[in-house]
């Protein structure tokens, strides 16, 4: 980086760390994908691309250890290898991702980078297994011609023939720049240059030759340009270091090479030998379970402003809102006293303007703090993989609701308790494959992560389909440890008894194994949630599984929504669940089993008539269909009129006023209109049934 000033270099480095963190996350995800689909060439290519970018970026920053390791990895990653080695490749990729992470952390703190030898060995072990053919050094290095001309009889003939036709024949000898690694590219570039200069008669070596060991290119050209110009054009920067141009004089004395042997590329051979040595050792790579926790705590700083600063701004906005309501009150009093005063209108205008700006201000500050839960969830595939491997269990992770927005600071704090819950779920919840089969469950256990808005809260669910928590066992243990007395225990409700697991004395019980026994007990989960003013609720059934609901508050949640009208009422659905919007004619609708369907690009789409909700019948011939996705199913909502996209601030609908699950919230638009945000899941399931009572519920919602 000597090229840039210090300041610029540090700016670039910041950018590098930021993008490298993202790349590593991607690499982890791709590694897991590769483990799932070993040998999938597309995934391999993706991994390769990520490693490639990481290599390029780190090399540009001068982080040679990282770029060297990335280079080795990239080189080794071929679809063929992935096919031969299967999941071992994924293993190495994930191990490499860990090392990359360690290296990045070291670079960030300017401490010496850890060695990547272990992964390097693993890489070499990987490529060596299919047989030595891959790494076989090419012994027959081509004897490179020196800067002279040595033509075969045929080549001489071609040149002489051209010359005899009155063409000016130029012979060239080009030395390839030792820094130009890809010789084939050099040849192609030289050929391109020749194409601009004249007609190429002969070139040695020609395509197909083993280019790796070539240092020189000899060529003959029929050209009308003078030698000097040709020399200039052929001296391609970074590719050709030396050019010798000579006019061919037919059939005069042929120049004979002065010194016989050319230089063989020693460095490359040495590389190959070194590789051979490493192949002999090649110990198998071990998984490092501990690395999962490192990943959890690694900072991900897409937010480059100190969060405290934003908090301060948000606080001030809150103060302003209080000020606003004070003003409103004062003006109301003023109104009553001076009903005819023309100043009233002016006050009202100023106040309305201020309110609007204030609203925007609050919205934008809130938005700065919001990040999708995905940032949190995406760390878990790796955790699940490592922990389940360590426990000898088979577990898959299902993630949903990752687009739910959550305050960044809450999100960061949730990472540790969630990781603990997931570890616990795998360690204690999910049974071993044999037990599962015996219990009549699928062999592979499932961990589910889900997130959704619930009024002014965000709920994050961590659930497993394992053995569940045995309430009786918990109580017995609690009594054993003197946490509760026998009498207390007898009076306890189900929930109270289960909550005993959050007691610090209990979480360190012996049943906590090496996986979860890392000092972060269930009591930590509880205390973190309390600190966030949230709650944690357990729902468990012995033999079926447990779900932990982490409920964290959110004063405001903002979603991007698509708004539309049905029977003159305004509704919205989260834009994230909208796949597309299409138009259709009423005549294209078919009936299948009580469902209305339409054929959209050869796919059958079930239609949901929202106007059924309000008992009105539209008689439009052309209809709008909003195609939405729920899970992996698609539905088409039939709407009357599309209004547009809007960022909506969700207001909770008080449970006492509106007891319907069809609406997940409401929002007030700039002009005071209330828009109901539909809970798509319930809407679709409800409309499957006959829907007599839905109407009333929704009408109640709209007038609330």
């Amino acid at each position: 980086m000597s090229f840039f000033s210090e300041e610029r270099a540090s700016e670039l480095k910041d950018l590098f760390f930021e993008s490298a963190t993202e790349l590593l996350q991607a690499l982890n995800e791709e590694g897991l994908e590769l483990e799932k689909h070993p040998g999938d060439p597309e995934v391999v290519r993706q991994v390769r691309r990520t490693v490639h970018t990481l290599k390029g970026d780190s090399a540009a920053c001068g982080y040679s250890e990282l770029s060297a390791l990335a280079h080795e990895l990239e080189d080794a990653l071929t679809p063929e290898l992935a096919k031969q080695q299967g999941t071992k490749v994924a293993e190495v990729v994930l191990n490499a991702a860990d090392i990359f992470q360690h290296m990045l952390n070291a670079y960030r703190t300017n401490s010496p980078a850890p060695t990547g030898d272990r992964v390097l060995d693993a890489i070499h072990a990987l490529i060596s297994k299919p047989g030595p053919s891959l790494a076989e050094p090419v012994k027959s290095a081509m004897k490179a011609p020196p800067l002279g001309f040595e033509w075969t009889e045929y080549e001489k003939m071609v040149m002489a023939d051209a010359a005899s036709r009155g063409l000016k024949v130029i012979q060239l000898s080009l030395t390839i720049d030792p820094n130009c690694v890809v010789r084939a590219v050099a040849l192609q570039m030289v050929k391109n240059a020749f194409a601009d200069l004249g007609t190429l008669l002969v070139v040695v070596p020609d395509e197909g030759a083993a280019m790796d060991k070539v240092d020189h290119i000899s060529a003959a050209l029929a050209s009308s340009f003078d030698e000097e110009y040709i020399a200039k054009k052929c001296k391609i920067p970074a590719v050709i270091s030396d050019v010798k141009v000579e006019r061919y004089a037919p059939p005069a004395a042929e120049p004979v090479s002065a010194n016989g042997t050319g230089e063989i590329d020693h460095t490359q051979n040495e590389d190959l030998l070194g590789l051979d040595n490493q192949l002999d050792e090649a110990p198998a790579a071990e998984t490092e379970v501990g690395s999962a926790s490192n990943l959890i705590s690694a900072p991900e700083s897409t937010l480059r402003v100190d969060a405290e600063k934003i908090d301060a701004v948000l606080n001030l906005v809150g103060e302003l809102i209080i000020g606003k309501s004070m003003l409103t009150q004062t003006i109301n009093e003023f109104d009553k006293k001076f009903t005819k005063d023309p100043l009233r209108a002016k006050f009202a205008d100023a106040l309305a303007y201020q309110a609007r700006v204030l609203n925007d201000l609050q919205k934008s500050v809130m938005k700065v703090r919001m990040v999708p839960v995905e940032q949190l969830f995406r760390r878990f595939p790796r955790v699940v993989r490592d922990v389940s491997k360590a426990c000898g269990k088979e577990v898959i992770l299902e993630v949903s609701g990752q687009n739910t927005d959550l305050d960044k600071s809450i999100l960061d704090v949730l990472a540790e308790p969630m990781a603990h819950l997931v570890r616990n779920a795998i360690g204690h919840g999910i049974e071993s494959p044999a037990d599962r089969i015996a219990a009549g469950k699928p062999k592979i256990g499932t961990i589910k992560l889900n997130a959704f808005h619930q009024g002014n809260n965000v709920v994050i669910e961590v659930s497993d389909d394992g053995r569940g928590i045995d309430r009786q066992k918990v109580v017995t243990k609690a009594i054993e440890r003197g946490i509760v007395t026998q009498e207390d225990a007898a009076r306890m409700t189900e929930g109270e008894a289960l909550n005993l697991i959050f007691h610090p004395g209990l979480s360190t019980a012996e049943e906590i194994t090496s996986v979860s026994g890392r000092g972060v007990g269930m009591d930590i989960v509880k205390s973190v949630l309390e600190r966030l003013k949230g709650t944690v609720v357990i729902d468990t059934k012995v033999g079926v599984g447990s779900t932990f609901y982490l409920k964290v508050p959110l004063t405001l949640a903002i979603i991007k929504a698509l708004m539309f009208r049905v029977a003159e009422r305004l509704y919205a659905v989260p834009l994230s669940s909208v796949l597309e919007i299409t138009r259709a004619m009423e005549t294209e609708i078919h009936r299948v089993d009580q469902h209305e369907v339409i054929k959209l690009r050869d796919q059958v789409l079930t239609l949901v008539r929202l106007n059924k909700l309000v008992k009105s019948k539209s008689n439009q011939k052309k209809i709008f269909i909003v195609v939405i996705a729920i899970g992996d199913r698609k539905f088409g909502l039939v709407v009357d009129k599309l209004v547009g996209e809007e960022e909506l601030v969700i207001k909770a609908l008080d449970d006492h006023l509106v007891a319907t699950e069809l609406v997940s919230g409401a929002s007030i638009l700039g002009d005071g209109t209330v828009v109901l945000i539909l809970n798509l899941n319930s809407v679709v399931t409800r409309l499957g049934k006959s829907s007599a009572d839905i109407d009333e519920q929704l009408t109640a919602g709209a007038s609330a």
Binding site: L12, A59, S67, H71, V185, P237
Partner: protein
């Protein structure tokens, strides 16, 4: 810090305009800083091949610096399409080694040059000078942005 004589277009003595294509934001920024230190202007940036094509049509830059491995559309294909549309386009492929066949293919399809990653400013400067040929002149002491 090394100084480069600013490279200007011969026809109007204006800065050379570049289109920088790379899926890595970091790499784009890095290259951008380099070409700016050569007195050039980055007329457009793209993170994938498709965008690169539309950006070329919009900006009509003098030089395209094109990464090879990218999502959506790889650099080779983007280069090929650009050159098919604009035979005068000067496309320089920028990539690491290991994509030998790809680079050769790009050169065969009309890419002007290849620069190896990590990009060294001195090398890139010479390459641009070479690729621009008669169409660029070096103006001493007019390096944009980097004046002492």
């Amino acid at each position: 810090m090394e100084q480069f004589a600013a490279l200007m277009r011969s026809k109007d003595r204006q800065p050379i305009r570049y289109l920088v294509v790379d899926d890595s934001v970091f790499a784009r920024k890095n290259v951008t800083k380099m070409v700016e230190s050569f007195g050039g202007n980055v007329a457009g940036e793209a993170g994938d091949g498709c965008t690169a094509i539309t950006e070329y049509d919009r900006a009509i830059p003098d030089i395209v610096l094109m990464d090879i491995t990218m999502p959506q559309m790889e650099g080779i294909e983007a280069a090929e399409r650009i050159i098919r549309q604009h035979p005068d386009a000067r496309v320089i492929m920028v990539s690491s080694v290991g994509y030998q066949e790809n680079i050769v293919a790009a050169l065969q399809k009309g890419a002007k040059h290849f620069v190896q990653k990590p990009v060294k400013a001195e090398v890139l400067y010479e390459v641009i000078k070479y690729v621009m040929g008669e169409d660029a002149v070096a103006v001493e002491g007019a390096a944009a942005g980097d004046s002492k």
